[in-house]
């Protein structure tokens, strides 16, 4: 555990903190100091304003015209909508039975009854799909709110998770409060998995001891969020790893680590 910083020491480290150039130990010390010091937090905001101005003063370039439509298409295929949207659209576009005038009245009635029954079933199914989608969206929003709460919590600490493979873009960020068992995991560029597979989080300590941190899936872009409630406070854990496992989870890791890090 690093020694607490004085305000002078903290202020000296603020530019490095903003430029993401601090070593983990120093980052932890600055984050802890900022959580209790209004003066240094105000200094941080002032430096941040300078960097914001630098970022806005660059030579302006027009983004490619096709990026706009590409973005909107990607947004429409977003994680909360992807699993159900295609089916939803397909159901709405099903042709409806239309009895012809030449059919016998009895046959027409039978067809009409079948059509009404089919239509009712479709409406109920659509309603169930919409309800499911609404629940998915609410769940995602709740996760994102928790993530944001942790990001902005003064005592929150980020743990970067990386792949051991140099050519992999997979990465993650675990946001935690050291004395708390709750954390939020955000991952990016993890390969999407088939329906019967999922990613599982492992929280390790000691020689080979570990707890299950939960199971999650990623969207088509490899983005995923998981709200973790660990069996113990995060001060206990010395390692975090993510492996690919069966969708229902596994009692222990059965595949190589995809990404990992040290709290």
């Amino acid at each position: 555990m690093a020694a607490p910083l004085s305000c002078d020491q903290c202020e000296e480290l603020l530019p490095d903190y903003l430029l993401r150039a601090l070593e983990p130990e120093a980052l932890r010390a600055v984050t802890e100091h900022l959580s209790t010091c209004e003066r240094c937090s105000a200094q941080l905001a002032a430096y941040e304003a300078v960097l914001d101005q630098l970022g806005q003063a660059v030579l302006q370039h027009e983004p490619p015209a096709e990026l706009r439509s590409r973005l909107l298409a990607a947004a429409r295929e977003g994680p909360a909508l992807t699993p159900t949207a295609p089916e939803f659209i397909r159901l709405r576009r099903q042709p409806t039975w239309r009895p012809r005038w030449a059919f016998l009245l009895t046959a027409a009635n039978v067809v009409l009854c079948l059509s009404v029954g089919w239509w009712t079933w479709q409406v109920q199914r659509e309603a169930a799909l919409v309800h499911q989608r609404w629940q998915d969206v609410q769940h995602q929003l709740a996760l994102q709110r928790q993530a944001f709460t942790l990001i902005t919590a003064p005592e929150a600490r980020p743990v970067v998770l990386r792949s051991d493979k140099p050519d992999s873009r997979a990465r993650g960020l675990l946001l935690l409060k050291p004395d708390d068992p709750h954390a939020v995991l955000i991952v990016e560029d993890l390969p999407p998995l088939p329906q019967d597979r999922a990613y599982q989080v492992w929280l390790g300590w000691g020689d080979r001891q570990r707890d299950n941190g939960g199971v999650f899936r990623v969207d088509a872009q490899g983005f995923g969020l998981l709200n973790i409630t660990a069996p113990q406070p995060f001060t206990t854990y010395q390692r975090v790893g993510i492996t690919e496992e069966p969708a229902s989870g596994s009692p222990g890791p059965t595949s190589p680590r995809v990404i990992g890090g040290t709290p």
Binding site: V50, L67, T152
Partner: protein, 184 residues
């Protein structure tokens, strides 16, 4: 007024309810700034395009969690900068192929066409021009190229402690200059 020109906060709230028109308006309002910063940092059209899309998709996915504490554009550019820095630092091949010098990066900021239409940009240019060259170079390498302080020290063949001090002093000076400008 609100319908004709919705605020960024309104657009973000609508995005949280999955309104793609709000994303479209938000994109049209800020895409140029995001793409320009990405271009300055990556110097590659394809990577800048990909990062711009990534940033706006992230906003789309997390709009409900956004709680405004400053301008949305500053928030977007911070997101862009941080992701670009992380990506640049991961890109180990960059060190072998890198040819851009701080002076070229400075050109990206000081080109008149970029700054003529904004008093704030002019103020930034003046403040940067007033910095000692060695402080400006170190700051540019850290800010626009995502180099760690150790990498800058190696590149400029200067002790690490000196690089840290230069960056710190550059930011302190800019802060005094720019906040002084705003105060008038």
């Amino acid at each position: 007024m609100d319908d004709a020109y919705p605020t960024d906060a309104t657009l973000l709230a609508r995005m949280a309810h999955r309104d793609p028109k709000a994303l479209d308006t938000f994109y049209m309002r800020h895409a140029r700034a995001v793409f320009s910063l990405a271009m300055t940092m990556f110097k590659e059209h394809t990577r800048a395009t990909d990062l711009t899309q990534e940033v706006f998709l992230l906003v789309w996915q997390s709009a409900g969690a956004y709680q405004p504490t400053g301008s949305a554009r500053a928030w977007l550019l911070r997101l862009t900068r941080n992701r670009a820095i992380d990506e640049l630092r991961r890109d180990r091949r960059r060190l072998a192929n890198e040819t851009v010098l701080p002076q070229q990066a400075l050109h990206a900021l000081s080109a008149p066409v970029a700054l003529a239409d904004a008093a704030e940009r002019q103020a930034v240019r003046d403040a940067l021009a007033a910095l000692p060259a060695e402080q400006r170079d170190a700051l540019f390498l850290a800010f626009f190229q995502g180099l760690s302080h150790q990498e800058i020290a190696t590149r400029l063949r200067t002790p690490l402690g000196t690089i840290k001090a230069r960056i710190r002093r550059a930011l302190q000076t800019l802060r005094q200059q720019l906040q002084g400008e705003q105060g008038h």
